[in-house]
């Protein structure tokens, strides 16, 4: 950097650049909001799904699993577990935990009622119907 390029020029470019790109980000966010209804499956956001999301959160499922690829990488992706396994398997699986198989990864038993299990299944079904640009690459997640 030569003497022509001064600190105050660098500072002005910083402020100008930051403001410009933040405004661009806001504009893209605004446009994203217009596009969301076409992709986010919000028409199926029933009270049951909302209750299921809360169970998902209060059992800290994201502490082991990924959901649409985000979370921990210790246990399978659940964004597409509904088409992969189906509702009955999901409920049966959760009721059977922990397996207690020696040396294997263990999932806690959450003692969910049948209604709560249905809620979480509804949430996972709703999630699986979000348009994720065909991610994950295959059913294994």
């Amino acid at each position: 950097m030569s003497g022509i390029f001064t600190k105050s020029m660098a500072r002005n470019i910083f402020y100008g650049g930051t403001v410009f790109f933040f405004l661009l980000f806001l504009a893209l966010t605004f446009d994203s909001h217009r596009e969301f209804p076409k992709r986010d499956n919000s028409q199926n956001l029933t009270p049951q799904v909302i209750a299921g999301k809360k169970i998902w959160e209060t059992r800290n499922c994201i502490g082991c699993h990924t959901l649409l690829g985000e979370g921990a990488y210790f246990a399978p992706e659940l964004g597409n577990v509904y088409p992969r396994r189906g509702p009955d398997f999901i409920k049966g699986w959760m009721q059977a935990q922990p397996t207690g198989a020696p040396g294997r990864r263990q999932m806690p038993q959450f003692h969910l009622t049948d209604e709560e299990l249905d809620n979480i299944v509804a949430f996972l079904k709703y999630t699986s119907e979000i348009n994720t640009a065909n991610w994950p690459p295959n059913i294994e997640g």
Binding site: F5, T6, K7, A10, R11, F14, G17, T18, F22, L24, F25, L28, S32, E35, F36, R39, D40, N41, S42, L45, V49, K53, K54, W56, E57, T58, R59, N60, I62, G63, C64, T66, L68, G69, E70, G71, A72, Y73, F74, A75, P76, G100, A101, P102, G103, R104, R105, Q106, P108, F110, Y126, I130, N131, T132, A133, W135, P137, N138, E140, G141
Partner: protein, 459 residues
């Protein structure tokens, strides 16, 4: 120490290192659970260990940032801190709130914790990194605001430098974007979209301003290079950071239900995100090469250079590795992500906080630098931890490539768990590298208690 009130940084640094140790111990527990699945189950399930591991990281880095600010700002502003008492009070509030939260994670089932702490009033819990109960989140806001008040008032009454301005913008940004942690819409797509306004705009945005300010401060002190030069570099680096990083948020919007044009915006801008990190590396080496003095604290110089290199590798190179949408389609949410996360956090934020501690702690303890013996030990810890982190990253990357291949690319894809069994060897190697990291950390802590009788470094 030029100003008495800079000493309030000391408890912040001590707490940071203590919590850092806790973070590493829980990291080792998790690493073990990756290969011996039922290790410590049901006492410490994986999700609890992970919450503790990641939350401790965030909290100790915040302690580090706050301590750094309390140390730097009086010196930059050439005035005593606005209120040292407030700084000490906030320290205890933050430490107790942090400790209570971690104990809550460990000893109360998460659903019960949510019920007890008012999650029904405003559901914010159970999202990655933002697992804290509502009172903790509110506490973070209160502590952050009081801290910012203290720092801002100090800057306002004294000299205004580019470093303190950039530091303030970074810290205010940190507090402001944390407010999005209170926004948790039922709509999962919007939930995820704005979750990144905390997570991405922190670590790939405003935190980098804090990083730049800390590094610039230490470089001025240890190299004696003209402030004008260093501050010009600082502005250039953070310009590059935000110009690429803000739109770069788009690399998280590929597969969560956001419009597909984000694949273009995210790929192009985040492909440029390594540039500011590269500039930082060049900056650090350039300034040290042009040094006008030989600072007795060699360890601090090593940490500063290490930050430049490791931040570029971890955040820059390992970020670029999987940031382009067609690549990320296969690597998203795999061990590649974990590899990047580890080296980026270590190289950028852990190392810059340790740089500042390395520089400031001896001065707070009444000497320009530690004895030669203590510095040698500290440099050993630098290499042990840094090389261990390189290995952790390489092993996780190997695991990730294999995982992606078996589970997502192969003609007959394997299930998640079958794939995990196939890559177990790499998880074992990662765990051993983790043990090496812990040894490095122990050496680091020991270096604080080594006196040596090197009179040359006494002030």
């Amino acid at each position: 120490m030029q100003y008495q009130s800079q000493a309030v940084a000391k408890p912040y640094f001590i707490a940071a290192i203590a919590l850092f140790t806790g973070q590493i111990l829980f990291g080792l527990i998790m690493g073990m659970q990756y290969v011996v699945g039922d290790f410590l189950f049901p006492e410490i399930p994986f999700n609890v260990a992970r919450m503790v591991h990641t939350n401790l990281l965030i909290v100790w880095l915040l302690f580090g940032f706050m301590g750094a600010a309390y140390y730097m700002v009086p010196e930059e502003s050439e005035t005593e801190l606005y209120s040292p008492k407030l700084a000490i009070a906030l320290f205890w509030i933050f430490l107790l709130a942090g400790a209570a939260t971690v104990l809550g994670y460990l000893f109360v089932p998460y659903a019960t914790l949510a019920e007890l702490t008012g999650n029904d009033l405003l559901a914010t819990m159970g999202r990655e990194f933002l697992e804290q109960p509502l009172p903790t989140k509110l506490g973070i806001v209160v502590v952050a605001l009081a801290f910012l008040f203290n720092i801002t008032m100090t800057v306002l009454k004294g000299r205004k430098t580019a470093i303190s301005t950039v530091l303030l913008i970074g810290l205010w940004g940190l507090a402001i974007f944390f407010l999005f942690s209170f926004y948790n819409p039922h709509n999962l797509v919007k939930d995820k979209y704005y979750w990144w306004w905390v997570v991405h705009l922190w670590v790939e945005g405003v935190w980098e301003l804090i990083l730049g300010a800390l590094l610039a401060f230490v470089l001025i002190k240890v190299t004696g290079v003209d402030r004008e030069v260093i501050e010009k570099w600082l502005y250039v680096i953070i310009t590059l950071t935000l110009v690429t990083g803000i739109i770069g948020t788009g690399h998280h919007y590929y597969w969560i239900g956001a419009p597909e044009y984000w694949q273009w915006w995210g790929s192009i801008f985040s492909a440029l995100e390594p540039i500011p990190f590269f500039a930082m590396t060049v900056f650090a080496f350039n300034m040290v090469n042009r040094r006008r003095r030989e600072h007795p604290n060699k360890a601090a110089v090593l940490w500063a250079l290490g930050t430049g290199v490791m931040a570029f590798l971890g955040a820059g190179v390992w970020g670029f590795l999987h940031t382009l949408a067609p690549v990320n389609y296969y690597t998203h949410g795999s061990q590649i992500t974990a590899a990047h996360g580890h080296m980026a956090f270590y190289g950028a934020y852990v190392m810059v906080v340790l740089t500042l501690i390395s520089y400031a702690m001896p001065i707070i303890r009444g000497r320009a630098a530690n004895s030669n013996k203590a510095q040698v030990l500290e440099m050993w810890s630098f290499w042990l931890m840094t090389i261990a982190m390189v290995f952790i990253t390489l092993f996780l990357t190997a695991a990730g490539i294999l995982q992606v291949w078996l589970q997502r690319v192969a003609e007959v894809p394997m299930s998640f768990m079958a794939t995990q069994d196939q890559v177990a060897l790499f998880y074992w190697m990662r765990e051993w590298a983790g043990v090496m990291f812990l040894i490095g950390l122990i050496v680091y802590i020991v270096s604080f208690f080594v006196n040596g009788d090197d009179k040359a470094t006494a002030r």
